[in-house]
Structures are given as structure tokens and as C-alpha cells.
Point group: C2
Chain length 355, copies 2
Amino acid sequence: MGLPSNDRNRLPSWRSAAYAAPVTVTLRDVARFADVHPGTASKALNEATRDRVAPATVRRVLEAAERLGYQPNTFARGLRTRRSYAVGVVLPDLTNPLFPPIVRSVEKVLAAAGYTTLIVDTDNDPATEERLMTMLRARHADGFIIATARREHPVAEAGDLVPMVLVNRLTEAALVPAVAGDEAAGIGTAVEHLVSLGHRRIGHLAGPQDLSTGFGRYRAFLDATQRLGLASADCPISFADSYSEASGLRAAREMLAAAPTAIVAGNDLIALGCLDALAEAGLKCPSDVSLVGFNDMPMLARLNPPLTTVHLPQEEIGTEAARLLLDRIARPDGPAKRLLLPCHLTVRGSTARPR
Amino acid sequence: MGLPSNDRNRLPSWRSAAYAAPVTVTLRDVARFADVHPGTASKALNEATRDRVAPATVRRVLEAAERLGYQPNTFARGLRTRRSYAVGVVLPDLTNPLFPPIVRSVEKVLAAAGYTTLIVDTDNDPATEERLMTMLRARHADGFIIATARREHPVAEAGDLVPMVLVNRLTEAALVPAVAGDEAAGIGTAVEHLVSLGHRRIGHLAGPQDLSTGFGRYRAFLDATQRLGLASADCPISFADSYSEASGLRAAREMLAAAPTAIVAGNDLIALGCLDALAEAGLKCPSDVSLVGFNDMPMLARLNPPLTTVHLPQEEIGTEAARLLLDRIARPDGPAKRLLLPCHLTVRGSTARPR
DNA sequence: AACGTCACGGCAATCGATTGCGGCTATGAC
DNA sequence: GTCATAGCCGCAATCGATTGCCGTGACGTT
């Protein structure tokens, strides 16, 4: 797998290879230089067809390509082969620190397989997402990794699909491969942690219910509290209408009326808003109220108090998503694997025994 | 400017447009449907040549394209026109919160002009950068926005260049357009702020000197302290060898031997490391030592103490970079404009009068 | 010596959009 | 009624790489 002739397209010098103005050298030039027909040169350059050319000829062609600094024309190749060796990575929000590490490991795996990663940011806007998807399709992306997580997302209904892998979202129809952190287990251990500290009145600041993560964590919270024998009356729930500090603040104000001794937030941003609400109400964290976040975004350890949170294996998620996609591209009709990667609870200073 | 026929390539339904398996409809199909020659259909679809076709025919072709859901083949078009309507954005580190807002505004401006943004992350690795640049060149990017900031960067020497704009780096040869925050002025106001609070012994935790930002801020610090009449003996300087908390910690430990009453850090991460060093030494910020960061990364306001820092107009930087690039693509031989955007000091709780 | 086999490489069509050139038709002028 | 002009459209070459098919020559076999 991989671009047939990448290995020998490298040039010694930076300048000529990467930044200098284009000096177009085509396959014809290489062929002329090696004194063969362009078709033959093509076969020599392509690992898959190389055995149809005499070894000595292959050497001559390779040599010529190297000398001339041949770079195959992506357009011509793509036009003929209908493949781009590019995959699109569709993110809801690049400024969310959750995604960059995922993107990075995706890029690493795909690059090793000869693929180019096209990152796009939909800014959580369906219209932008449509525009960008159309663009990626027009550029003939061979596959997609999709991290936008609205529950009524159109991919859910699509039947005959282009190769794609869903990230951070497992609630869709089972025909699409997906990778995500095991959020239910994550929420579960968070609740267990609080219960083991002695909490009995545990609230949940749920994220937006139209996002699959918000919905999934909410359900997981319900399951966990029930499983651990907490009365649902003791487990107040407020809904934040976005993953933001402001929404978290609003939801937390509501929540505090129910006087829980611990709170599980839908994500870290909501937890931050909750921290503000606690301060407002003159409550101390963790002595009055314990708090758990979700995602383990950077800098949380430096907060006051340092936030206990559920950590997602971002790098692994990216790696696995890329592998699944490569699988899918190679065998579009294979089974749609779905991977749940373990999350772990990072205990810091925002959780303690109730008074 | 812009892709000739974008406006009418939109399809009503998501599924068919964006996620469903490809149903290739070519220009021939449109032409057949509209009962014209493919060449004529092409002219009708292209705004620039539309006036060479009778209005009634244009309407028929447009109608046909709409009905059939025609999407021009990027490869075929690119092969013929040698343009991709794609630009590469080369970042040193996607996980650095400085960049996502810049990328976003870049994307917005470029999209409005019909261009696609290709984001790549070099991970601060020259070899990766070369690989990615070569890839972008192979994909015939029409231009580049480059935010990787090593001082001995190859673009500095390149003569005949592909259209590009440098971001956050103005120290290069003047032939390349560039946009950056006015870091010198930013450092200047930071130092002025400290002086106006009464500080006379102000240290600088400089960033890596092989990065243009590290070097530039260091020089700016020297200038500012001198201009304000501080003795250079009272202005100790330590060098961090990377923009990281660990390096900041190391450099700050050194620095504290000189007992400054205030410190200007090369960036926020270094400032965080400095905070740790202060804690280690039993020093309180800001009562014992005042501290100023640089970049205003997220969450700084929630720290203890909230960090005073220099804020960069990221969005504006992105917008201007994109505009400059479009300029450059349109007129590659025009003058290389260089833009310095004002920074401002965000005063929070980490700076106070010295005791 | 004649024939079959195989390895090698040339040939040309193809992918789909673009575009300069040239031809056709309709219109208007005299 | 004839000719000039311009508007409109078709034609075909072109961009560069890929690939199935076929021809050629060498070698081995009987």
C-alpha cells in the first residue's frame, strides 16, 4: 500500500523540493532521459507493476527520476486512477484541545500508509460541514474520519457510503465503523469514585442532548447511579445547552438548589462553569461539593482546585481511527468494526469526602 | 475570483451531496442533457467565459447541471488549468492554542474566495515539514501560509518563490510577505507596565533563540529595558531551550538567583514553569515576584494567580495573512507587504507593586 | 531448423475539463 | 438580393499518468 513511487521522489535539497518555484518535470522527461517509452517509465516507477520491466531498465528509470527530481502530477494520476490518496478529517472545533492530539496520531498513521490528511473545521455549523464535505468529495478524498457529533447527523441515515470512520460517537447505526473512548465506563468510574468517598447525593450537569457525547454520558450517569443503588431523587440532573463555561454556569446554578454533595459534569468546560457557580454560592470545592469533569483538557492540574476528570486516550483513538479507515478503504464491504477504548479517571483535588 | 461554478454546484440534499457513494456525473452528461457540446457547457458554467454563450443556452446548461448534480472533477480541471484553488497552511504545532483561531479566520477568508485550506502540522520537525511541503506542492497548492518559525528556515534563502505568506515571523528577508503581532511593542508595554508599578529589577525568561519569536522578544526586551533606563545588570536573562513548562522551570530556577522583583516570560508556557519555580523557592506571585506571560492562551484567567500576559490578535492575523496571500496569488510580482498588528497587554493578577 | 514460450517494452486509449480557432447562421446594411 | 459582420457554438488538441494489449526478439526444445 502507499503511493507507488514516493520513496524515490525525495530530493536532497529543501529549497528545490519544497519552496522553490515549480520546475515541472513530467514522466515524459524521465522517459526521454532514460530512453524508454513513458508507459514503461510509469511501470518502472510503480512498485506494483515494476516486475513487468527488466531490472536494468527499472534502475535507469529510477535514476532518471531521481536526477530530474520527478514528482508525479497528482491531478493526472488522480484523474486516471480515481484515487487521491487523501483522506478528510472533519472536526467540529479545532480550538477544542480534545482534537489536536487525535488529529496528530491520525496523520502519523495515514502518512505512513502514503496518505495525505486533509483537516477541516466545521465550526459546529451544519452548513459549513456540508460545504466542506462537498469540497472534500470534489477533491476525491478516499475516505473520511468524522468527529462531528450531532445525533441526528446525516451519516446516520446514509446507506451506500464512502469509506468513513466515526470518532467519539458510537450511537449511530452499526454499519459505520467507529472509535471512541468508553465514556460509559468513564462516567461509571467517576460515579464509583464519588460513592466510594461517601457521596450519596450526586448530581449530573449534562451536556447538550443533541450531541451523541452529551446524550451518551447522560445515559451512562443514569445507569451508573442506578447500578450503585442511589435513589434517582438524590441524583439531580441539569442540562447545559452547550459545552461551554457559560452554559455550565447556568446549569450549575439550577443544580445547586438541589444541594448535591458531588457533581459529575458533562465535560471540563461545564465543570469550569460549575466552579464559578459554586464560588457564587459561597460553596467551596471540594470541601462543600466535589466535582468531576470529562476530557482532561490541558491546564486542569493548575486550577484551584486541580480538577478531577475522566481522561480519554486521544492518541490511541486517532491511531485506531486511522487504521480502521485504511481497512475500510482496502475492503469497503468488510464488517464495520466498532472500537471502545478504555478511559481512566484522573483523580486530582476537586473530589473529597463529603462533610 | 473563485471557482467558476461553485455557486450552482450545491445540491439540496445532504446525503446525496456529501456522504453518499459517488455517482459521477461529468460535463459530458450535462452537455448531453442540455443538448450542447461539452465545450459549450464548460463555457456556460464558467463565469469568466459565460458571455461567449447565448443567455438561453447558459440557462439550459445551468439547469442541467443543477438537475444532474454536476460536480466538476477537480483533477481534470487542475490538470488542465494548473491551479488547484487550494492553499497550504503549515503549522509547527496544532496543539498550541495559539494557532487554531488563526487557522479559523484564514479558512474563512480563503473559503469566501473559493479556496480550500489544507492544514498541516509539522510537529516542529524539519523533516516532517519537508515531507508535508513536498506533499502540498505535489497537490499543486496555489500558495502557502507558513507559521513555522525557525530562524534559519529555508524559505529565508529561497529566491524565486511560490506565493507564500509568513505568519508570526518578520525577521526573514524582506521579499516574502508576512503578518505578525507587534511583539516588540507587546514586550515594550509589558516592561512599561512593570516599571510603572515600581519595578527596577526585571528579568527575562527568553524563549528558544533559534525561533524567530524567541529571538525577537529577547531583542525587544533588551530594547525596552534600555529605553526605560534600567541598568542591564538589573535585568537578568535566562534562556529556555523550548517553549515548555519544563524549560521554563529550569530557566526560572537559574534566574531566581539574581532575585528580580518581576519577570517577563518568553511565552505563557515558560511563565507557567516560572510559577512552579517560584513556588519551589517559597516565593509568592505577585507579592514577591510579578510575572508576565505572552500569547494569552486559554485558561490563564483561571490560574492562581491569574496570569498577566500579552495578547495577540490571532483572528486578525489570520484574516490578514489570508488576504495577503490572495493578493500574492493574484499578483506574484507585487511588492511584499509586511504587516505588524498591535498586541495588547492583558493585566490580571500576576503583576503588582514590588514590596 | 522450425516452432513455441516468455520477457520486455512500445503503443494508444483513457480519465474529464478547458480553450483557441474556425465555421455556421442570422442579422443588418446598401 | 447580396455581402459583411458578429454572435454563437462545435471541434479537437491538450494537460500527464496509467494500463491492457500486442509486437518483437531471444531463448529453449525437439
